[in-house]
Symmetry: C2
Subunit: 560 residues, 2 copies
C-alpha cells in the first residue's frame, strides 16, 4: 500500500483535524466545559469528575511482553484500539502519557502513536503541548532554589547538611553535561558549593506526585512530603519544612487538569502526565484516568515497558491507590519480539522462524500467567508487521488458547480503527466476562522485604532476593521513619523479566539483587534499585535537531 511509505508526521499533517469542540461533543461536553489551548487542544476542569460514573465505566490496560529496544507498540495499539472500540459502537476514550520534549531532539521518534494510529496535533503533543512538563520542571526547581537559599541564609536556617541532599534539579532536555555538576561557586554571594545534578523532567518526583494526586489538597500534601535530605543532626528534611508546597502547587494549578486531543479518526484522547517508567510508575495521571471513566464507557490506557514493570505497578500502585478496578488487560506482542526471545539477533528480527517464535512464547506465557494472578484473563494483541507469517501467527494463537486467552492480530498501524475491530470485540468480551475480578498481588501493609520478594518471585520468576548491606540499612531507616507501608515501585531493566538484561525469554533459577533504595515520600513509593537507572539521556553525535526545519508559515518537517 502506497500510504505506508508516509512518515508519521506526514500522515498526521495530512489528517483532517477537527475543532476540539467537535471532539468534546462526542463526550457530551460543550465548549464552556473546556479550557482551550488553540483550536485542537483543551484542558478539562476537575469539576467534570463523576465518582458514580467512574465506578460504572470500564478500564482497559494495554501492557506488553518484554520488549525489544524499539518497543512493541503499546501506544499505537492503545490508540488503534480506541478507534476500533468506537467503530463497534463503544464510547471509548484513550488515556495516555504525555511525551517528554528532550528526547525529540535526540534519537527517538515522538510518542504520539504511529502510522494510522496517532493522536494529533502530533507536533504540539511532542513539543510544549499545554505546558504541563514546564510547570512540573518549575515546581521541582523552585524547591531546589529554596533548598540552596536556605543553606545560604542566616535567618530561617534549617541546618540542612548539603552532602545529604537527594533532591535534584530537572530539565526536559537530553543534556548529559548536566548529570553531575558543582553549584554555588564564585564566593559568598553565590550560594554554598555542593555537588548536584540535573535529571530529565519526567524523572522528577513532582511528575510522579502529579500523577498520583486526586485533588489539590492531595497534591499539596504529597508535595509537602517530598524528602530532601538530612540536617547535620541527622533529622529528615521535607519540602514542607521549607513551606514550599503551596508555591509548588500554585505552579501546578493548570498542569493538574487533563488535556484532551483527538485521534486521527476524530475520537477523543486524554493525554496527561508522563512519569519515568523505571524509577516511577510510568503511567498517566490518576485524574486523567478518572476523567476518562467519567466521560466515556471505556477507557483504554497504557503503562510503560513490559507487564512485569508497567502492568505490575499500574495494578499494585495506581489501581490500589485510586480505588480503580481494571476490567481487562491487553498484552501487546509482536512476532519480532517473539523471535527475539526465541534467540533471534536484531538483524534477524524480520526473518520468519516458527521455531524461534515457539521458543519465544515462553516470555509471553509468563506475562499471561502474571496478569491472571491479578484475577484478570488478558487478551493478547499481535501488533502486525509486514514480516509476520501466517504460521507464526497461528502458532501463537493456538498456544494462547492453552491459557484460554484470545490472541488477535492488530492492524492499527497500517489501517487505523478498521484494523482493530476484532481486537475491540475481544476486549469488550473480556471486560464483560463474569470471571474477571481484579485483586492486587500484595497488601501495602506487609513489610518492605516481603513485598519485594512477592513481586520478584511471583512476577519476575526469581528464586530469591538478595539485599545489599546498604539496602538492608535503608529498609530499617524507612521503617523507623514510618514509611514502610508504601507500595513498591521497582527500578529494574525492562529488557528482561529478571534484573539481568541479557536473560531473554523466561529466565528461571535466578536471584534478584536490591543494591539500594530510593524513596519518593511524596509520590508514596519505595523504590528498590536493581540496576543502573538512566535519569538524564544524552544527544547522539548527529542530533535529530539538525534535520528539522520550519517554514515561514510555521509548518514543521523532520520531527518524527
Amino acid at each position: 500500500m502506497e500510504k505506508k511509505h508516509l512518515s508519521d508526521i506526514e500522515i498526521a499533517q495530512a489528517a483532517e483535524i477537527r475543532h476540539i469542540n467537535t471532539i468534546a461533543a462526542k463526550l457530551n461536553l460543550n465548549e464552556d466545559h473546556l479550557e482551550h489551548y488553540g483550536k485542537y487542544k483543551a484542558k478539562l476542569p476537575l469539576s467534570l469528575l463523576n465518582e458514580e460514573k467512574i465506578k460504572e465505566s470500564n478500564l482497559i490496560l494495554v501492557s506488553a511482553m518484554t520488549p525489544t529496544p524499539a518497543g512493541e507498540g503499546k501506544t499505537t495499539t492503545s490508540i488503534g484500539l480506541t478507534e476500533g472500540m468506537n467503530k463497534i459502537g463503544k464510547k471509548t476514550v484513550a488515556v495516555l502519557r504525555e511525551p517528554s520534549l528532550g528526547p525529540v531532539f535526540g534519537i527517538k521518534g515522538g510518542a504520539a502513536g504511529g502510522g494510522y494510529s496517532q493522536v494529533i496535533p502530533m507536533e504540539d503533543i511532542n513539543l510544549h503541548f499545554t505546558g504541563d512538563f514546564s510547570a512540573i520542571e518549575k515546581a521541582n526547581n523552585l524547591l531546589s532554589a529554596l533548598i540552596d537559599n536556605n543553606i545560604q541564609s542566616k535567618t530561617n536556617n534549617l541546618n540542612i547538611d548539603p552532602r545529604t541532599i537527594v533532591w535534584k534539579r530537572v530539565m526536559d532536555m537530553n543534556d548529559r553535561s548536566l548529570r553531575q555538576i558543582t553549584i554555588g561557586l564564585g564566593g559568598t554571594a553565590n550560594g554554598v558549593p555542593r555537588e548536584d545534578g540535573f535529571n530529565i523532567t519526567p524523572a522528577s518526583e513532582v511528575m510522579a506526585i502529579l500523577c498520583m494526586a486526586e485533588s489539590f489538597t492531595d497534591l499539596k500534601e504529597r508535595l509537602g512530603n517530598i524528602f530532601i535530605g538530612y540536617t547535620f543532626d541527622k533529622q529528615p528534611v521535607f519540602a514542607k519544612d521549607l513551606k514550599a508546597e503551596n508555591a509548588m502547587a500554585i505552579l501546578l494549578k493548570d498542569a493538574i487538569k487533563p488535556n484532551m486531543v483527538q485521534t486521527l479518526e476524530g475520537n477523543p484522547a486524554i493525554i496527561h502526565g508522563g512519569p519515568f517508567a523505571n524509577i516511577a510508575q510510568g503511567t498517566n495521571t490518576v485524574i486523567a484516568t478518572k476523567m476518562g471513566l467519567s466521560l466515556a464507557d471505556y477507557v483504554v490506557t497504557e503503562a510503560g515497558f513490559g507487564a512485569d514493570l508497567g502492568a505490575e505497578k499500574f495494578l499494585n500502585i495506581k489501581c490500589v491507590s485510586a480505588g480503580l478496578k481494571p476490567k481487562a488487560v491487553v498484552i501487546v506482542a509482536t512476532i519480532r519480539a517473539l523471535r527475539h526471545h526465541g534467540g533471534a539477533k536484531s538483524e534477524e528480527y524480520n526473518t520468519p522462524s516458527v521455531e524461534r517464535v515457539e521458543k519465544g512464547f515462553a516470555n509471553l506465557s509468563k506475562h499471561i500467567e502474571n496478569i491472571q494472578k491479578f484475577g484478570i484473563s488478558p487478551v493478547v494483541a499481535i501488533n502486525a508487521f509486514p514480516s509476520d507469517t501466517q504460521e507464526e501467527i497461528q502458532l501463537i494463537q493456538e498456544k494462547c488458547q492453552d491459557y484460554k486467552v484470545k490472541a488477535v492480530v492488530a492492524n492499527g498501524w497500517a489501517e487505523g480503527g478498521a484494523g482493530m475491530t476484532n481486537l475491540a470485540e475481544a476486549v469488550v468480551d473480556a471486560a464483560n466476562a463474569d470471571d474477571n475480578e481484579f485483586k492486587p498481588l500484595y497488601d501495602w501493609k506487609k513489610p518492605i522485604q516481603e513485598k519485594i520478594e512477592t513481586i520478584a518471585k511471583e512476577i519476575y520468576g526469581a528464586d530469591s532476593v538478595d539485599f545489599s548491606k546498604k539496602a538492608t540499612l535503608q529498609m530499617k531507616r524507612m521503617e523507623k521513619l514510618g514509611f514502610d507501608q508504601m507500595p513498591i515501585c521497582m527500578a529494574k531493566t525492562q529488557k528482561s523479566l529478571s534484573d539481568n538484561e541479557s536473560l531473554h525469554g523466561r529466565p528461571e533459577g535466578f536471584e534478584v539483587s536490591v543494591r539500594e533504595f530510593e524513596f519518593a515520600a511524596g509520590a508514596g513509593f519505595i523504590i528498590p534499585i536493581l540496576g543502573q537507572m538512566m535519569r538524564m539521556p544524552g544527544l547522539p553525535a548527529v542530533p535529530a535537531s539538525e534535520g528539522m526545519s520550519i517554514d515561514d508559515d510555521g509548518v514543521i518537517s523532520g520531527l518524527s
Copy 2:
C-alpha cells in the same frame, strides 16, 4: 477610599473578567482569529499583521525619569492611559512586556500593573502565562546541550574551545547557586568538564531575538547568528554552525505569536516578550507592537527603566530596526522620585518638600531634553501618590511649561481610566501635533566608538567616554568580524543618568567607562558593559513563596 486598601491580587480577583472573545470583538476580531489559552487569554496569529494600518496608527511610548528602587509606575501608567484613551473614545490597546516568573517567588510583586490599573488574569500573567518564557528557555538550553554535545562528540566535532564559550544556560528562577557552576563532571560518559552558569530566562539572547524578529524567516536567521565562542583556532562559532536554528525556531513556533488579555476595564492588552532592560532592549516584541498598530488606532507601550535606557534603546534600536515612528512619548515622574533626586533619603520620600522637588526637577528636565532630541515633545505624567502636595505638583507643571511640555496628574492606580482622561487628552494632542517628527539619535553605520560617545554625551550628559584596553581590543575584533554596524545596547545602571549609581539628579562633568563588550550577534546589538550587571537574582531570607497559598478550588492568595 476603602477600596485602596485592597491588594493588587484582591482587586484583580474581584474584577469582572470577560471572555477574551468579547475583548477581541472590540478590535473587530472574531473567535476564529484567536488561539485561545483558556477563556481569558489568546494568541494572535501573525496573519493579522497589516502593514498599511501599522503606518497609519499612533505609537505612544511610556518611559520615565530616573527611578527610585521601587520604580515610578510605567506599567501602571501605561495600562491606566489605555483605559483613559478608550474612555475618551480612542480605540487603544496597551502593548506590554511579559513578566518573568522567577522573581514572583522572591521579593518583587507582579508586573501586571497595580491598583485599579492592571491587566488580568494577573495570576496567569505572572506565572506560566502562555508558555512563551518556557519556550525561550528550552530554545536557549537546546543550544547549550548541542554545544556540549559537540564538544563531547568525536564525529561532527567543530573544535570548540570550551574556555571561550560565552553562551550560558537559563532558568526562569531566582537561583543564585546556579550563577557559577562546573558541568560535565563524572567521567567520559558525562561530557567534558567546563565552567558554566545559568542566567534568568529574560536575560537570554533568545528573548532579545524573539523581541526583534519580524517573521519566522527573520527569527531563524537571527537564531543562527548567535555567537557562541571560538574554536581552538580562534575562529568564531555561531549557532548555525551547530545547525541549531531550525530546531530552536520550532520550539518558538507559538511563542512568536502575541498574547491578548484584558485590562480591568475590559480593554484589550497585548503582552508579549520581556527581555532584560539592562543587557538587552527591555521592551516587548516588534511583532506585538505591530500587531497593536494593526488592530487599534493607538498603541500604548513601555520600555524598561528610565528614558536614558528604555526610551533611548526603544527609539534607536527597536524603532529604527522595525521602521516604527512613535508619535508621542510620556515621561512618568513621581513627586517621590523628584524628592529623591532633590536629596531626600528613602525614609523621606513621603515627606513633602517643594525645595527638594525643585532641585530634583533637574533630573526630569534632562529626560525632557533628551526626548526632544528625537524630534518628539514629551508629555509628563505625574503618577499620583497620597503624599503629593498641590504646591509640589504645581511647581512641576510650571517648570515643564518652560519646556512647552504638559505635566498631567495621573490617577490610574486609584481610579483606573477615570483618573487618566486628562493625560489621555494631552497624549492625543501630542500625537496629532504637526511638529513631532521622530528621528533617531545616531546612524547605525557610524563607528562603534562614535555611537557610544553620542549616547553618553547627548543622553547621559557625560563629558567623555573611557574605553578599557579590553574594550578597545574587543571593538577591533567586532570591526574585523564585520559586526560594527549594529546599534548600541547600553548596559548601565538605571539608578543614575551617569554610570555611577550614587549620582542623582542631573550629573555633569563626568566620564563614562566602558569596561568591556558583550555581543548579541543574533539580536543585532553591541552591548557596552558600564558596570556590574545582574543576570541571575537570588531569593531573600524569607522568600515570598512561603506566604503563598492555593485552595482546593485553585484560588491563589499571597501572590503580589
